[in-house]
Symmetry: C2
Subunit: 192 residues, 2 copies
């Protein structure tokens, strides 16, 4: 097993199309702490690139301002380890743009793997996905996470795979996206 399999793992945080509490399709706002926590977890677990996905110009400008503070502004000198985390973030319009960007970078066309808090018919397990990740160095995968009340069905149906939810026998299943990203990365590529 080669160590480099982690470099074939990418992460996308989707702000559109996601659903709100009523199930309507919306574009959610970028959350400062999503960028911090998910960038730090991505860097810790060796994810290649963390894509922040939003088609809204004002949200792209906001995300870029936050990122620039930590990569080239006052934050870079104040906290160099935070710079290392933020250096891995890219802002793009759509999941299609994530896939295109990875392919353009000289990689094979990556497979997309949606995450969801609810059971889905075509879910794959952690063990199965761990094996897929480690099977060869040619394949690449994008883990897709939704903000707000989760990924829109239209986006989910276009992904290549859906990862099984983080189950809990307490019957309560309302983790933040920051917690879900952390746990899923630990399960897939954590050093235990």
């Amino acid at each position: 097993m080669k160590k480099s399999y982690r470099r074939n793992l990418y992460l996308a945080l989707i702000h559109h199309p996601v659903v709100n509490k009523q199930g309507d399709i919306i574009a959610s706002a970028v959350t400062n702490l999503d960028l911090h926590d998910i960038a730090r977890a991505s860097r810790t677990f060796g994810v290649n690139t963390f894509y922040v996905v939003t088609p809204l110009n004002d949200q792209k400008i906001l995300a870029q301002r936050i990122i620039s503070h930590w990569t080239s502004g006052g934050g870079a000198a104040y906290n160099p380890s935070r710079k290392q985390a933020f250096d891995q973030i890219e802002i793009v319009d759509s999941l299609k743009d994530v896939v295109d960007d990875i392919e353009k970078g000289g990689c094979v066309r990556p497979k997309t793997v949606a995450t969801c808090a609810k059971e889905q018919d075509r879910s794959i397990g952690y063990k199965q996905f761990c094996d897929m990740l480690r099977a060869d160095d040619e394949s690449a995968y994008v883990l897709v996470f939704g903000t707000a009340w989760g990924l829109a069905e239209s986006l989910m149906s276009e992904t290549d795979y859906i990862l099984e939810p983080i189950r809990s026998d307490t019957g309560y299943n309302h983790l933040s996206v920051r917690s879900a990203v952390s746990i899923i990365l630990d399960r897939l590529v954590g050093d235990r």
Copy 2:
């Protein structure tokens, strides 16, 4: 193995004594999203009580205002699952008060288990702690997490155990406390 072992697991988020970037002992500010993310993860994984530990009155008032919004204010009707998570939070002055409160509730005196991003001489592993948690229903444990740049040495030296860090072979180890709590709970009591 009885399912109830999770009810013997408690969590404490320490805002004093913790250290700042320079290593000075400080009292950190309560962070809104710490309460949300850690309450949701605690509820998901069946932790008994999530203690927010701060001796500062203004910070206690702030924490209580946030909690009340979600347990009895507008947030309770808007998002009942968030209420379930926030119902489990208690605010206390010190780690000693956490231990006293658990004992006062009719439990045995719990053992304290510090968490730390750095290797420590007396660290115990996840497997060992998992076995301890499941060994009997009489014992109780408090997982202790630091905010800011981590727990003060003085507090850490008083805990019964120290849990090994979340290792990563990327050499980068700067997870947020929200991510660390989520991963550690999943490793200890997650349903995989």
